[in-house]
Every structure is written in C-alpha cells, then in structure tokens.
Symmetry: C2
Subunit: 232 residues, 2 copies
C-alpha cells in the first residue's frame, strides 16, 4: 500500500500522544501559575503546597473524568449512528443513494459518475455503512477501551506536569528561595515539552518551546499580579 | 438538498459551542474543587479567595492561549497540507490517482468503479484537492478569525464558570458559612450546564446533569481530603 510522506506524518500523533499533550500542557501551566501567584500574596510555603496539591488533584480528576466521559460519549455516538445507517441502508436505500450522490456533488461529480459505486454498495451493505460513517458523518470507529486509557493518560500527565513546579516548594524551606527554583525548573520543563510537542504539530522546535514558555509565563505573571493585588 | 435528521443533529454543535463547553466545564470544576479543598485546610476566607482568583486567571489564560495556539496551528496545518495537495495533483497526478483508488478500495470498490471519478478530477484540480483534503487527510477548512474567537470564548467561559464557586467566599464572611453556599450554587450550576451540554452530545439531560455534578463532586472531594491530609 503506497504511503505518501504526509500520510505518514499524520499518523504519528496518536490518540495517546494527544492525551499526554492535553494533560501535560495544563498540568505544567496551571499549578505553576497558581503557586507563583500565591507566592506573591501569602507568607507560608505550606499554603502554596496545600493549594498546589489540591489544584493538581482537582485538575487531574476533572480533566481525566472529562476525557473519560468524552471518549465514552464518542463511542456511544458512533454506535447509535452506525445502527441508524444500517437501518437506512436496509430500509431507505433510495434515500441513501441520493445521499451518496449528494456527497459527490460537492466535488462536481454527477449521478452518472456514481453509478458503479451505487451498484457495488447495493451488493455490500456493510461497506456502504462504512462509507456513510466516514464520508457523510465524518466519524471514525473509536478504539475499544479508549475511555479508561484516555482518562488515566490525561490525569497522569497532569499530575506529573503539576509536580514539577510544586516539588521545589515541598523540598526547599522558605517561599523566597523556592519561588525562583520553581520558576526555572518549570520554564525548562515547558520549553522541553513545547519542543517535543512541536514534533507532532509540525511547527519548528524552537517556536514550539517559545510558545509553551510564553503561555506559562503569561498565565503565571497574571496570577501573580492579581493575587498580590487582591491579597496585599 | 435533502437533509436527513442525523445530519442536522450533527451541525448543532458549532465550534463556538464546543469552546464554551471546554471553558465552562473546567471553569466550573477546578476553581470549585480548589476552593472546597482549601476550606478543609486553611482558616481564612481571604486565602481561599486569593487562591481562587489566581487559579481562575491562570486557568483562563492557559486554556485561552492554548485554544488560540491550537486554532492557529490547525489553520497553518490546513494551509500547508492544501499547498502540498495542489502540488501533488499538478505534478504527481498518477500517484494521486492511486491514492483515490486506495481510498475507495477500503469500501470494496475497484479501479474500474473509480474511473468516472478520476476522469472528472483530471478536469477539475480544485475539486480533486478538496476531495483529498477531506477524504485522504480528514481535514476541514478552519473558519477565518477562529483563533482569537476561540481564545476569548474559552477564557471567558472559564472566568464565568470559576466565579460561581468563588463569589460566595467573596460575599459571605466566614469559611464555614461560605463553603456550603458555594457547594450548593456550584452543584446547581454544574447540573444546569450538564443538562444544557447534553443537548449537543445527544445523551439524556438527566444523565448529562448527573455526569457533570459527579465530576465536580469527585474532584472537590479528592481535593478537600488531600488538602486536609497535607495541611492538617
């Protein structure tokens, strides 16, 4: 089967990689910004650590369960639409034929050009349903077991990402000494993560690193200033 | 043009609705869970409010900028892939024809059935490129201006969602009185949001309400218990 270079490139970003990126992007950014923000407004390291751990738990569970429900919803949706297409191909074949013609008409093709395809579909209802799922509805068959795997990947990546900014506050006594260590560790991690992510999105590694560092930096600066303004 | 019921149903969830749902889902859940979690570990309402505001700012900016970069990345990706398909249709037409045959072979169709389609595509390269973008690569043309709109929608929804659990702490003195008000207001808001979201995902409204309330409740309970355990 002939694989063109861009086809190969598309398939490097698997669902698992996408889940890792989703969890890690927020996990590295939000707990970091919260910890930096609180450092500007409260006096005790303990409060930063407690708030950070609470935020990591809340974020990991909310995003993980959200991913679980989204994947379950996709699978349910695929199943119910597939059952409906099976019914339509069986009972309303003429209307389905019109829909096939309709799909191809977007590309300037008339009914005559579809004739061999329609003739084949009448003899192979399963292939017809596969075709309608992809070409009419734009739906892909979800992998089995994806929901649980997605939840654990997103939640786990959030926890790992969130511990990077938080560990310095846990290990180093004194906010004023922990804050710069946390900022440096997290900016390095954000840069590495952005560069790695860039491999999958097709932008340059330097640009990818800069983008994620900027997002984390802006979010943290805003949280820091707001927290100091309200808390000060 | 004949629209089947399920086709109509697919198009009710626009990109803007999806952005609203993304921002609101996390905005209602994470600041709520953080505030509830901190209530179990610190004594002062002020700390909960400062941490909550810092988290809302951090979350809204991180998710909003993340949405902006994702939409910009999608648009860049679409443009570069489209340019590549134009080149291939023009310069490597035979290979592209094989790719069309390859796409249809998944549905049991042979080269002969594709002949009228290939003949048409040779006379209409733009339609050919449109076809390859959608059916080889699975890419849709992004709306122009989507990146900024996406960022503001996600970030704004996060702020609105995050203020629901936080306002009781701002308006009511005393943590022990603010916490139950915050929990009740947020569970009601999560239920309403889940029911409204269910209209777009095609599950029942009751089930949708229950799901979002469960996610928020589990995340908050975990944050509460962890914060109390570490902070106590």
């Amino acid at each position: 089967m002939p694989l063109t270079p861009h086809t190969e490139k598309h398939f490097t970003a698997s669902d698992t990689v996408r889940d890792l990126v989703i969890g890690m992007a927020d996990g590295l950014t939000v707990p970091f910004a919260l910890a930096a923000g609180l450092s500007g407004a409260v006096a005790a390291s303990r409060v930063v650590v407690v708030a950070g751990v609470a935020e990591i738990a809340a974020g990991a569970i909310a995003m993980g369960l959200g991913g679980y429900l989204a994947a379950r919803g996709d699978a349910d949706h695929y199943r119910s639409e597939r059952a409906r297409e099976h019914y339509e191909v069986r009972e309303l074949a003429h209307r389905e034929e019109d829909e096939v013609v309709q799909i191809f008409s977007h590309y300037g093709l008339d009914r005559a050009a579809c004739t061999p395809i329609l003739a084949h579909f009448r003899t192979d209802p399963d292939a017809w349903v596969d075709f309608m799922m992809r070409f009419e509805l734009g739906l892909e068959q979800p992998e089995p077991g994806r929901a649980l795997r997605s939840a654990l990947t997103i939640g786990g990546a959030y926890v790992v990402g969130g511990l990077v900014p938080l560990l310095p506050y846990m290990l180093i006594g004194g906010l004023s000494r922990a804050l710069p260590v946390s900022v440096i560790c997290t900016l390095v991690a954000l840069g590495l993560f952005g560069a790695a992510k860039a491999r999958f999105t097709g932008i340059g590694m330097g640009r990818g690193a800069l983008q994620t560092m900027l997002v984390g930096g802006i979010a943290s600066a805003a949280a820091f200033l707001l927290a100091r303004w309200i808390g000060g």
